[in-house]
Amino acid sequence: MAPLLRTTQQWVEKYRPRKVQDVAHQEEVVRTLVNTLETGNLPHLLFYGPPGTGKTTTALAIAHQLFGPELYKSRVLELNASDDRGISIVRTKIKDFAAVAVGSGISGYPCPPFKIIILDEADSMTEDAQNALRRTMETYSKVTRFCFICNYISRIIEPLASRCAKFRFKPLHEDIMLGRIQYICQEEGLDLDQEALSTLSRVSEGDLRRAITYLQSAARMYGSSISSDNIIGVSGIVPDDVLKRLVQACKSGEFDLAHTEVTEIIAEGHPVSQIFSQLFDYVIQSTEMSDEQKARVCERLAEADKCLIDGADEYLQLIDVASNTMRALSNVTQECTYF
């Protein structure tokens, strides 16, 4: 019999705050919800903000704290994008769950007389499905509270948004994130120097989940002492010198040089979307480029990014961006001469 592999817990799950009070950096939300715990009064909720800021964590924590493990199953319905959430589900599953009356609570938990439906990743619901929810929300508001979680509030239709108390989750501050990471390092016996810590917080861009995932990957691959290079290795960001070479080639004004560089990048397998975002950062911070040059490069970058999302070829888009950057840097007109 082959060896059986056992699973270990993901750190993201292991260090997920269990109580609302433990959620870092989101004071208003925490204050409101702690109040709820005392009074048992909860409005419909709408959490929005960038990934990895604690939206799902908060929603799960408040549900657990309100109902406790025993009642959790009967009082909380958790749906997300991986469950089918077309209009038919809204009409049947959600409505059925919402319509059920609640039983009595158990001691030890607040157990307010309503159920909670958590709709994670609500921005990927169709507009029809959202519309179907409007009436359901009002009809059963006595016994059911909804909690929508999404990244982009603009994708939630206005009638739904106006029925909810909205909470914006802020990206985590660097020092708060570092505090959390240092705590995990301590618990797991990892050794990170200052440089690695700052790299980690830089590459994760305020997304705590990403930071923890990187940390765990790095710990598994490289052992307990982790350097800044290791973090870059697991995070998939493009090393600075690759980008520098590309920019240098663009500055030279020689097309063939840039072409070689682009071929090299593709062969090395760097994700082009990542190159774009790092090139964007570079261009914005650059001191030697004029505003007009910056604008020209950025405009093309935006177009190319959209093309990539549509599924266009990486090589062609990158070479187009490179050629455009080159023309911008050498102040050649953008218009095609032989068009």
Binding site: L5, A81, D84, R220, E268, D310, Y315, I319, Y338
Partner: protein, 354 residues
């Protein structure tokens, strides 16, 4: 057996390129567990080889005993029932499939199979539950819908199965999926590495490989290891003993595109466009992906252009390739690119030579 398969390294210790990555993968699973993995890199870099070696490292030799199954799946989506047929390659420990085979229904397939795997978890003698590995190829071709549905499924069933995703371009995998995996970049082997592998194979096959020929094969392979090995084998079939100035054969379709590019450069007229169109059609009917045709054509054309024109041509190539992805019929966009190129080139000629 083809040399590509014959000399494919079976274990992580035996890989000749990407030794560092292999070592890291070994460390990764040394503790008996691994996170979800996402391998990305150009074709012929060795992603699949590494994945298979990794599976073997995890489960031993039995991971290599694979059976190919063609299984019908029934998916109930609300009131509708969808029937699908999918080919999977599986061993006792892993299942491998190309979800993009299912077309627009791919999201159901992915969920169904993962749920199925979660139901049948392997048990050991003591009763501990293990996990299986699901290898998904060509994740970049998965629809956005299917990728979104992977997000939560990955978390929910993470105890029961591990996903190993494999794709060419990481840009086409949504951020949410990428952030849930350990990303492993597999770069194309360098020219020296390919040369080493070729010499190694030649030695094993008892062949005398002149360095000049090896050098040319390496150059032509474009850092694609699979292609280099295939090319070597083709040369062996062509003639042995090798001679220094032996022709390294390029594939038919590439020669054909070179021909097309010459056609375009020689004459720019509606008549010529019509001729080129026929040739493009022929390539398409032979199942050469249109993106590949366009890219190759661009490369061929660029060899003979002034640098001033190159900017413009590149821009239009990127433009039409994007349209090609959005549109339905590839020939329109390929032809549009050719027509555009002809018009630009003609104007350029007139402006330069009057």
């Amino acid at each position: 057996m083809l040399w590509v398969d014959k000399y494919r390294p079976r274990t992580l210790d035996k890989v000749m390129v990407h030794t560092e990555e292999a070592q890291r993968l070994k460390n990764l699973i040394a503790q008996g567990d691994c996170p979800h993995l996402l391998f990305y890199g150009p074709t012929g870099a060795g992603k699949k080889t590494l994945i298979m070696a990794l599976l073997r490292e995890m489960y031993g030799v039995s991971a290599e005993k694979v059976k190919v199954e063609n299984k019908p799946w029934k998916v109930e989506v609300g009131a509708r029932k969808i029937e699908l047929e999918l080919t999977t390659v599986s061993s006792n420990h892993h299942v491998e499939l190309n979800p993009s085979d299912a077309g627009f229904q791919d999201r159901y397939v992915v969920q169904l199979i993962i749920k199925e795997m979660a139901k049948n978890r392997p048990l050991d003698v003591v009763g501990n539950k293990g996990f299986k590995v699901l290898v998904l190829n060509e994740v970049d071709k998965l629809s956005k819908d299917a990728q979104h549905s992977l997000r939560r499924t990955m978390e929910k069933y993470s105890a029961a199965c591990r996903l190993v995703l494999c794709c060419n371009s990481a840009s086409k995998v949504i951020e949410a999926v990428r952030s849930r995996c350990l990303n492993i970049r597999i770069n194309a082997p360098s020219r020296d590495e390919i040369l080493d592998v070729l010499l190694f194979i030649a030695k094993k096959e008892n062949l005398v490989l002149p360095p000049e020929l090896a050098g040319r094969i390496v150059l032509q392979s474009n850092r694609n290891l699979r292609r280099a090995i295939l090319c070597l084998e083709a040369c062996r079939v062509q003639q042995y003993p090798f001679t220094k100035d032996q022709v390294v054969q390029t594939t038919d379709w590439e020669q054909f595109i070179t021909e097309i590019s010459n056609d375009i450069l020689n004459e720019q007229s509606p008549k010529r466009l019509f001729l080129v169109r026929g040739k493009l059609y022929e390539l398409l009917t032979n199942c050469i992906p249109p993106e590949l045709i366009l890219k190759r054509l661009l490369q061929e054309l660029m060899k003979k252009l002034d640098s001033e024109l190159k900017h413009e041509v590149c821009h239009w190539a990127a433009f039409y390739e994007h349209r090609l992805q959005l549109g339905q019929k590839a020939i329109f966009h390929l032809e549009a690119f050719v027509a555009k190129f002809m018009s630009i080139y003609k104007k350029f000629l007139i402006a330069t030579f009057g």
